[in-house]
Each structure stands twice: as structure tokens, then as C-alpha cells.
Amino acid sequence: MSSGKKVMTGRHFMMGNIACAEGAIAAGCEFVAGYPITPASEIGNQLAKRLPQVGGVFIQTEDEISAICAAIGASWAGHKAMTATSGPGISLMQENIGLAVETETPLVIVDVQRLGPSTGVPSIGSQGDVVQVARGSHGDYQIIALCPESPQEMFDLTIRAFNLAERYRVPVFLLADGFAGHMRERVEIPETDSLDIIDRKVTTDGSDPMERIDFLDEDVAPMPVFGRGFKAHVSGSCHDEHGMRNLSEPEVMHRYISRPINKILKHRDDIIQAEGDHSAADIVLVSYGTVSRSARAAAQLGRAQGINVGTLRIVTCWPFPDREIRQIAESVDFMLVLENNRGQLYPYIKAEAAHACQIEFLGPQILGQIHDPENILARIKEMIK
């Protein structure tokens, strides 16, 4: 796994974090900045070795703040960029995640979640950051977050995260957890030609941003990347379509907040992925990330006993798949939400479902341990009796 090939085509027995690193390189990532942290370190470890082999740059920064800032800088310099960390690192990055949102910077941020808050338990997976990644930076914004459930998806969804980041000029989270990151499983890496890779649209004209639209286009303005004479002005301050700071016109302030939000919501059908088997189900198990594996096992157990158990697996947590949840809620009697936390996405799901079905929440018996399918089945029986 240490040859200089860009795409490691073939069938591997691979750790999720390594699959994420290989997915980044396959997606065309050329710049990664990071700071060591359990359970995400293997991503940086692998990229420190692999990126120079494919002409890219890895830098270990002095902290996670510096890591995300350097990645944003590299993205503006025209490179596909990524940083990878865990919850404590995400906490440090939050201010500059807001800058990436408002400067419309393509960027992938990997959060291999661990049990928290605070220092918590570094090597135990959890889903405690799911709201933080969407609402952790100050102010009003939307974000994209994808939740892998396996090492294979650590590869596949890393590529999808880059594609969404590049297509919509936004930061995108790969919201993994310690289970997906440290699990070793079969990972199939396809041929280079069969990978669908998207690159950002770059400005083609002019050396005066006043004669261009560089920002705040709901259909994604071409990016005036640095170093090509575009004389771009990029600012985290409230700015207009040309990138110029404006703190005096209320209409500009309104657009500065609304347009980046609308850009994501307008394209939500392309962004949101949710999958499952819920036709003719009486009860649907709603889950995301590695918890979905327990949900599927529980559904199988239930069906073997004659209970019509369906599953809905949320792949895109953010933007929130409101319509998808509402639609299913209106076709079933019961919904059971499974998360490896105390119920973070549950209120959002409940808001879309409670009018139509009976909905309840179930965490694992012990937080940070995987959901026992037998325990899920027991709860299903309790609900539907």
C-alpha cells in the first residue's frame, strides 16, 4: 500500500481511516493539514507517506486551528484540500469552518467522532458531534455532512465529499466515528477511469473582481483562485458578490447570510442521500453511520419472526433530510430512532414524523458500545404490541 499509485485499484483488507486517506488521494486531494488525534491519526499518518508520492503536500500543523486555516488557504490556491480530526479538533476549528462557509471554500473536513465532551474517551466511537458539525460555528449557516458506516464507505464517501465540496464550493464533513475509522474490512477500490471525479469551476475572465460575480450565487459562482491574476478579494467579513466588505447595506447583509444557505437548500435533492428498505413496513428503524449495521441486523431478526421491520439509513445528515423522513413517517405506524448518543438528531427527526406515527428513541445500552440487535428487537416488540 505504499507504492506511488494515485488510485490503489484492487481488493484490500483495509482500516477505515486508511480507506479515507486513499479516497482523498483518488478524489484528487493535493493538500492535507492535520494535527495528531485519536481516533483519526491514521488518516494523517497515511497521507504523510502517500501525498508526496503523488505530488501533494501533507503538513503537520501546530494545532487544529492552523490545520483548517492552512487547508482553506490551499483551497484558495487552487488545490483540493482536506483536514482530518476528532471532536476536540472540530471544537478548535469551528470559527474557521464559518469562514470557509462564508468565503465559499471547497474543503473536506473529516471528523472521526470519539466519546465526549471534553477529552472524553479518545479510542471509543460515538455520534456526539452530529449537531456540532452543523451548528458549532457562530451565526446562521448550512453545512453538508456524510455518514459512512464501513471502511468501504470511508473510501466512497470521502470521494463524494470532495465532489460535493468542489461542485458547490462548500466545506463538507465526512462525519465518521471511531468504529468506522478503526474497523478493518474488505474495501474495493475501482479502476481510475470508473471513478466519478468533479473539479470546481474556476473563473476564466478578468483581473477586476468588480466586473465579476465571485460570491453569493445560489447556482455557484466560478472560483477566482489565487495566483492567476484574478485579483480576488476573499474576506470573512460580510461581503457583496464581488467579495468586497460591506457593513452598511442591510440588503447585502441579508444576501451574505441567505445565499450560502440557499445554495445548499436549492440543491438538496442532489446532495441528500438516504437509503433503506421500508416498503410495507409497520415499523421503521432510522439510523446513520455505523449504527445502521445494528439496525439492519435487528430488522433481519424481526422479519425472521414475522414482524414487518423496515430501515431508513440517513447517509446525508446535513442538510437534514426532512422530506424523506416525513414521507416515510406518513406510511408507517412506528418509527424507532437509533443513535450512539443521547438523542441528537432525534428532535429533528421527531419534528418531521411525530404528526404521522408513533416515534421513540433508543441509544445503545452502554454509550460508546454498539447497539445490540437483540436489544433493538426487544424495543420493537414493546413498541408494536
Partner: protein
């Protein structure tokens, strides 16, 4: 009366017609020193990417300069500039920001960039106070000066930024005041040309906040103060601590060659890349 254009107007965005500087601010002198250095080196604004943070000095390049300009969060311009430079090693990445931005909230990035020896040019405008937020004490405020957050006089010791950055390993460090625009320009030229992390600390007057707090008077009085209290680094080396009390040591603190990060990375890629 005919109005002639300022010779450096060509380096500025044409739609920008005013700055955010207060009357008497040293930012204008530093701006001119930067642009004169670029002019005298015969360089083009498209050779540069300017990065700045939050605070008065961060407004020197942004949005004024007709170049790629990145205006970042508070304290982080050197971290952003690190990513830009690693991705565009052939460009000159130039950071302009203040002492609060680069030495307080962003102090860690400053010393680590110096340690790494990444080829950045940093002009750190040191006015000894937080100007934009209304005159709060800074890590550069001299001990005893009464500011809005040290109303009984600052109890803390001030950073010596140039010595700190030199100790962190930067191969070029110089300090001048706004009374020394020619020397400052010469040092900025050397900093741009230096293959490595280069810092020019520009002691600059903030008559509105620091002048008032330190009872140094107006802009001209402050420039006279700089004139009367600056001492060249060569002479300073022969003086003891007592004799240097209250003096501003100016000149080149370091000028040397050492292995630079982007060149080392280019060499590494040559070695490990396939084909």
C-alpha cells in the same frame, strides 16, 4: 489646479478611494514602504498573495491592494498563508497584520512558521495597543502604561517580538519605526527576497489610542519620540539593560541562510514520486 495621481495608485484597486485609518495613523507610512519595496524590486502585484487578519494593520493590503487578497479570522493569517504558500510555492505570500493579531491570539502560528522556516514575508505593525477595539492593553504594551483595560498601569511585561521570532529560528528579522521609512523599505525588500521566513516589525504610531494612553502626544510627537529613543542594534549590543531601558532597538536582528520548507518539500517530492 491639476491633480496628479500618486505614483503608487497603480498598485491599488481603482474603486477603493479611502482607507479605514484614523488621522495620524502609521499605517500609511507602512503601506508606502511595502509598495515602494515592490516598486524598487520591479515586481508585479500578481507576483503576490496578501494575507491579513483582524485589526487596524490588517486593512493595509485589504481591500486596498490590487492583488489576490485574503482577509482572515483574528490571529490566523500566518496559518492561512502557510497553506497558500505550500500550494503556490512560486508566488510571494505576504502577511500584513498587527501585534495583537500576530503576537497575541496568533502568537503560536508566528513562532511555528519561524521554526518551520517557510518562505513568507511578514510585516508586523506594532502599535503597542489594541487600536480598533478602543485601546485595550496588548502583549506589546510597555509595563506601567495605563490603557482602558489596565487603568492602573499595565502590570505585565511586554513581548520583544523581533527577539522572540529570531529565537524561534527565522532567518531574517528586522525592526524599524515609522520614523525610519527608508530603512523599513530596504528591510522589506530583503524580506521579500529572503528564501525563508522573514519578519519586519514596524513600530508604528497610534496617536488615537497609544499616544493618549502613554501620554506621547499626537502623531508628530510620537515620530519625534521614535527618533529620540531608537538605538541601532550594533550600538545596543554594547549597552547594558539599564542603558537600554525605554529604548527601541532598531536594525537587522538576523540575516542568514537556512533550509526552507517549500524547497525541501520540492526536493522530497522529486525523491519519492513515481516516474
Amino acid at each position: 489646479m491639476s491633480v496628479s495621481e500618486h505614483p503608487f495608485r497603480k498598485y491599488m484597486r481603482s474603486h477603493i478611494t479611502r482607507t479605514t485609518n484614523c488621522p495620524g495613523c502609521g499605517n500609511g507610512i507602512v503601506t508606502q514602504a511595502i509598495l515602494r519595496a515592490i516598486e524598487e524590486l520591479g515586481m508585479d502585484m500578481d507576483d503576490f498573495i496578501f494575507v491579513s487578519g483582524i485589526g487596524c494593520a490588517a486593512w493595509i493590503p485589504s481591500p486596498l491592494f490590487a492583488a489576490d487578497t485574503l482577509h482572515t479570522t483574528h490571529g490566523r493569517p500566518i496559518a492561512f498563508a502557510t497553506g497558500v504558500k505550500l500550494s503556490l510555492p512560486e508566488k510571494n505570500v505576504f502577511v500584513v497584520s498587527g501585534d495583537g493579531d500576530l503576537a497575541a491570539i496568533g502568537g503560536n502560528h508566528l513562532i511555528h512558521a519561524a521554526r518551520r522556516n517557510i518562505n513568507l514575508t511578514v510585516v508586523l505593525v506594532n502599535n503597542g495597543i489594541y487600536g480598533m477595539t478602543g485601546g485595550q492593553t496588548a502583549p506589546t504594551t510597555p509595563r506601567g502604561v495605563a490603557t482602558i483595560t489596565s487603568p492602573y498601569g499595565s502590570l505585565e511585561h511586554a513581548f520583544d517580538i523581533s527577539r522572540m521570532v529570531a529565537a524561534a529560528g527565522a532567518p531574517y528579522v528586522a525592526r524599524w519605526t515609522t520614523y525610519h521609512p527608508r530603512q523599513m523599505t530596504r528591510s522589506i525588500k530583503k524580506a521579500i527576497q529572503k528564501k525563508g521566513f522573514a519578519l519586519v516589525e514596524s513600530i508604528s504610531q497610534c496617536p488615537v489610542q497609544f499616544g493618549k494612553a502613554a501620554k506621547l502626544g499626537k502623531a508628530v510627537d510620537m515620530l519625534k519620540y521614535y527618533k529620540n529613543n531608537s538605538i541601532g542594534i550594533k550600538r545596543a549590543r554594547s549597552l547594558d539593560e539599564q542603558a537600554l531601558k525605554g529604548k527601541i532597538v532598531v536594525g537587522e536582528f538576523v540575516d542568514m541562510e537556512k533550509a526552507e520548507l517549500t524547497s525541501e518539500l520540492a526536493r522530497l517530492k522529486e525523491e519519492v514520486m513515481e516516474g
